[in-house]
Symmetry: C2
Subunit: 146 residues, 2 copies
DNA sequence: CACGATTAAATCGTGTACGATGTATTGTAC
DNA sequence: GTACAATACATCGTACACGATTTAATCGTG
């Protein structure tokens, strides 16, 4: 492929990745709106539902986000009563994030979300392709993070 | 898969999509920094290099972005001397975006970017998988936009 | 031709992202 | 133990994204 052709939007990986990410986020939105949370806030809940308590850094590693993104995000979630933030006694630098009552309760309402989303997607896009896409993306992530 | 398991980060499509998109954007950054542009600005240049002049709306359709994102973005690019914005004579509602001198010149410097990026990527991630990923993402985009 | 509906941008407010920098705490080497 | 590096967050500034609303121009129908 010539350099010229490679600059075409269709031939690049970057654009479909960027557009698909935003588009899928929008798919989640009506479902998350019912829970009163945003998409990044949902991601934080996903990792907190799997782990009782995590430091800001540990959340950051799982979601590949820096503290400059997480700190204000977590503060907004604390104001909403979704998470609690406390300094670690053993290491005063660390801030421990736990689910607050509301955050734990949201899990029940969220259980249906992945399936609902898949259903909305597989109307036009076959399920096995979703699986392949996920695996390829995870492989890409792994490859790029070294 | 149980609802519980579907809430795991690894099993969802949304997270790898979100993380991979941000990670690939970061791959572009050192290359784009040399040109003095950001990643969304690069996308706008890609479509303007393919089309001499486009209205804000037409750019928006190609990149799936709204005017509330594009207007300030294009204004920043205008300040830098990369694009020109003029009201259409035939329809005063439309704003026509064209390349300014600097924007045209950037194309030469950008020709190497797609290849450089591919090379950085295919060290760990095979080329045919990049192609499959791109095709799957484009198919997903098409499926979701109807 | 008039006038309500539609369209194209722009504006506003909120919420991410993230590079760069600051600050407090802990680890470590001498 | 003390100074210095490393670590964990927080803060600041800039640039997207995008829902909601506004403004101005054009279209369509009677």
């Amino acid at each position: 492929m010539k350099g010229e052709a490679m600059l075409q939007l269709d031939n690049q990986l970057c654009f479909p990745l960027y557009a698909a990410s935003r588009m899928v986020t929008k798919l989640y939105q009506p479902l998350l709106e019912k829970l009163g949370i945003t998409y990044p806030q949902y991601l934080i809940l996903l990792v907190l539902w799997e782990n009782d308590e995590l430091s800001v850094n540990e959340i950051g590693k799982k979601l590949m986000l820096e503290t400059n993104t997480l700190t204000p995000l977590l503060k907004r979630m604390e104001v909403k009563g979704i998470v609690k933030r406390t300094r670690s006694k053993s290491d005063e630098r660390r801030v421990i994030v736990k689910l607050a009552d509301k955050g734990g309760a949201l899990k029940q309402s969220a259980l249906c979300i992945p399936l609902e989303l898949l259903e909305g997607m597989t109307n036009q896009f076959p399920l096995e392709r979703v699986g392949r896409l996920r695996d390829d993306l995870n492989a890409l992530l792994k490859a790029l993070s070294q």
